[in-house]
C-alpha cells in the first residue's frame, strides 16, 4: 500500500513531473512543457477529436464535392473548383457540414487552451533549464522590432497572441505553447514530439538535388527563415554539424525558447528577431537559406521580397530551399472549399492566395537559376547516401512536401 501524501504542494509539481516524465516520449527534450495526468488525457483527446473530424468526417466532404458535385456540374458545363465560394455557402444548408465547421474551430481552440494550461505551470522549471544551458547558442532580441502586419493582423492558426506575443525579458511562454501544441497540431506526423520531420526532409532535398555540392563544399553557414522554435533548424544543425546555423523569426518569446530548446538538445544555434524580408546579415554571408512552411503565411508583397532577400544573403553558388504544404497545390474543388475554410476559420489569411501562387516563378524572378519545384518524400532522418527521391509526383501532406529550390548563379 502506498504511503504517499494525499496532497502535494503546487510548487513541487514541475520538479516531480521532471522526474516522472523523464522517459516519456511525448516530452522529447528537456524544454518540453510538463503535463499532469489529466492534461495528458486532454491532449490525447484533442488529437483523437481532430482525427475524427479530419480523417473520419472530412473524407465524406471530399467524396461529396469531388466525386458527386463536381462531375454533375461538369456535365452542365460548370467548374466546381471555380465556384468554390458558392458551394461553400450552399454547404451551409447541411447540418453535418455546419457542425463539422463549428467543431473544427472548437478543437483548434481547445488545443491551444489545453496546452497553455500545461505551459503555465511548467514555466518556472523551464526557466531553470534555460538558465542551466545559457552558454550554448545565442539569441538577439530587438526591442524596436515591429512584426509585419501580415503576421499580426490575425492570430494565425487561432493561436492566442500569434507568433509575436511577448511578455518581456526572459519570457518563454509563447515558444513553449507553440512547441507543445505543434505535435498535437500535426497529430504526431511531423516527427512526433520533436516536430523535425520537415527539417530532415529539407536536408534530404539538399542531398538529393545538390549531391556534388555536398560532397565538395558542404554548407558552412545556414539560415532558417521563419524558424519559430527551431523545429527544423535543429534538424539542419544535426545534418550539417560543422555549419554555423542561424534562425530568424518575429517573436521574442519564440526565439528565447528556441535557443533554450536547441541548447537542451546540445545544439548551438544563433537566433535573432528579424523579418525574413530584410535581415541584418551581410550580402553573400550564407551557403544555404531555407524556410519550412513559411511562404504561405506571407503576403503577396512579402513573398517576392523574401525571395530577393534569399538571393542577397547567398554567396554565388549558394542554395535556397523552401518547403511548403503540398495540399495547397491540389486544384480539386474540395481543396478549394477546404482552403477557404482554412483561410477564414483557421486564420490562414493567405492560404487561398498561396494555393494559386507560382513560387518557382517568384524564385526565377529574384534571379535564381536551376529553379525546380516538386515533391520531396518525408524522411525521419536525412541520409546523404540515399537514392534521390525528389519527384514531380504529388502526395499527401506529411508523406511528401512541396519544395521550391534554386541556386544563386556564379557572378
Amino acid at each position: 500500500m502506498s504511503t504517499m501524501p494525499k496532497t502535494m504542494p503546487k510548487t513541487e509539481f514541475a520538479t516531480d513531473l521532471s522526474v516522472t516524465q523523464a522517459g516519456d516520449p511525448s516530452r522529447a527534450h528537456p524544454m518540453m512543457p510538463f503535463t499532469r495526468h489529466d492534461e495528458a488525457a486532454r491532449h490525447a483527446h484533442v488529437v483523437a477529436f481532430k482525427n475524427f473530424l479530419m480523417r473520419q468526417l472530412e473524407p465524406r466532404w471530399r467524396t461529396l464535392i469531388d466525386e458527386k458535385v463536381a462531375p454533375q456540374m461538369a456535365q452542365s458545363g460548370r467548374d466546381a473548383a471555380t465556384e468554390y465560394r458558392e458551394l461553400e455557402k450552399n454547404l451551409g444548408t447541411v447540418p453535418a457540414y455546419r457542425a463539422w465547421q463549428t467543431l473544427m474551430v472548437a478543437a483548434q481552440d481547445e488545443m491551444w487552451r489545453s496546452v497553455t494550461e500545461s505551459v503555465d505551470h511548467s514555466l518556472p522549471e523551464l526557466q531553470r533549464i534555460e538558465a542551466a544551458n545559457a552558454a550554448l547558442g545565442s539569441v538577439r532580441i530587438n526591442p524596436e522590432f515591429k512584426a509585419p502586419r501580415y503576421l499580426t493582423a490575425v492570430d494565425i492558426h487561432r493561436m492566442p497572441g500569434g507568433y509575436h506575443a511577448d511578455q518581456g525579458e526572459g519570457d518563454l511562454r509563447q515558444g513553449a505553447i507553440f512547441d507543445k501544441a505543434a505535435a498535437l497540431y500535426h497529430m504526431g506526423r511531423n516527427g512526433g514530439a520533436m516536430n523535425d520531420l520537415r527539417g530532415h526532409t529539407i536536408a534530404q532535398h539538399f542531398f538529393d538535388r545538390f549531391e556534388s555540392m555536398n560532397a565538395e563544399n558542404p554548407p558552412k553557414r545556414i539560415l532558417d527563415l521563419g524558424c519559430t522554435v527551431g523545429h527544423s533548424t535543429v534538424a539542419l544543425a544535426q545534418n550539417f554539424p560543422h555549419a554555423e546555423v542561424h534562425g530568424v523569426d518575429v517573436g521574442a518569446a519564440l526565439l528565447r525558447y528556441a535557443r533554450a530548446r536547441s541548447a537542451s538538445l546540445g545544439v548551438s544555434i544563433h537566433y535573432s528577431q528579424q523579418s525574413a524580408e530584410r535581415t541584418d546579415f551581410a550580402d553573400g554571408y550564407f551557403d544555404m537559406v531555407v524556410s519550412s512552411a513559411v511562404l504561405h503565411e506571407t503576403s503577396a508583397k512579402a513573398a517576392p521580397a523574401i525571395m530577393r532577400e534569399c538571393w542577397r544573403l547567398l554567396r554565388p553558388g549558394g542554395v535556397m530551399i523552401h518547403l511548403e504544404v503540398p495540399l495547397r497545390f491540389d486544384a480539386s474543388a474540395w481543396n478549394r472549399v477546404r482552403g477557404w475554410f482554412e483561410s477564414v476559420h483557421n486564420n490562414e489569411p493567405f492560404w487561398i492566395g498561396a494555393q494559386k501562387t507560382d513560387f518557382a516563378g517568384l524564385a526565377a524572378q529574384a534571379g535564381f537559376a536551376e529553379v525546380c519545384a516538386g515533391y520531396q518524400p518525408s524522411v525521419r532522418q536525412a541520409d546523404p547516401t540515399a537514392i534521390p527521391r525528389f519527384t514531380s509526383t504529388p502526395g499527401p501532406v506529411h508523406v511528401v512536401w512541396y519544395m521550391i529550390s534554386g541556386i544563386k548563379p556564379q557572378a
Binding site: M1, S2, M4, P5, K6, T7, M8, F13, D16, T20, R36, H37, D38, A41, A44, H45, A48, F49, F52, L57, R60, T63, L64, K68, V69, M73, R78, E83, E86, L87, K89, N90, L91, G92, T93, A96, R98, A99, W100, T102, L103, V105, E110, R149, Y150, T152, A153, S299, A300, S343, V344, H345, P349, F350, I352, G353, T357, D358, G361, Q365
Partner: protein, 125 residues
C-alpha cells in the same frame, strides 16, 4: 503570380478579415454552435475522467492506493496508451454518430446533392 494575395484589400482573397472580426459559418445559428461547443467540451471531460478511472484501476490492480501523487507518477505503457486512444476514438464516434449519419445520408440523396450547386446562395437563406 496572381494578384489576389494583395494584403491592402480586404475584399481580395489575401488578407480576408480585420483583427477581432469573427468569421461566420454560413447557416450557423449561435445557440446551436454554442451547444455543439458544449457537447465537444463535455465529451472531452468524459474522456479525461475515463482515463483517470483507468489509471485508478491499474494502480489498484498493482496494489497501490490511487492518491494524487501516485496518479501523477503513473506512466502508462505504450500498449495502455494505444488502448486508451482506441477507447477515446470509440467514445467520440458514439457521441458524434448523428453527424456522420447526416453526412452519409446526404451522400445517398441525389436531390440534396443537386440542390448544393443548382441553387445559389442557399446557405444564407
Amino acid at each position: 503570380m496572381t494578384t489576389d494575395r494583395n494584403d491592402s484589400s480586404p475584399e481580395s482573397e489575401g488578407l480576408i478579415f480585420e483583427p477581432g472580426a469573427t468569421a461566420r459559418i454560413h447557416g450557423s445559428q449561435p445557440d446551436i454552435a454554442m451547444l455543439l461547443r458544449m457537447v465537444a467540451a463535455l465529451t472531452e471531460e468524459v474522456n479525461v475522467l475515463r482515463t483517470r478511472l483507468d489509471t485508478h484501476e491499474r494502480l489498484a490492480e498493482a496494489g497501490h492506493a490511487p492518491t494524487p501523487l501516485s496518479v501523477e507518477s503513473h506512466v502508462p505503457s505504450p500498449e495502455v496508451v494505444a488502448e486508451r486512444i482506441a477507447e477515446g476514438e470509440a467514445l467520440i464516434a458514439r457521441v458524434m454518430h448523428s453527424v456522420v449519419e447526416d453526412a452519409d445520408g446526404l451522400l445517398q440523396d441525389e436531390q440534396r446533392i443537386r440542390a448544393l450547386w443548382q441553387d445559389s446562395q442557399r446557405g444564407d437563406s
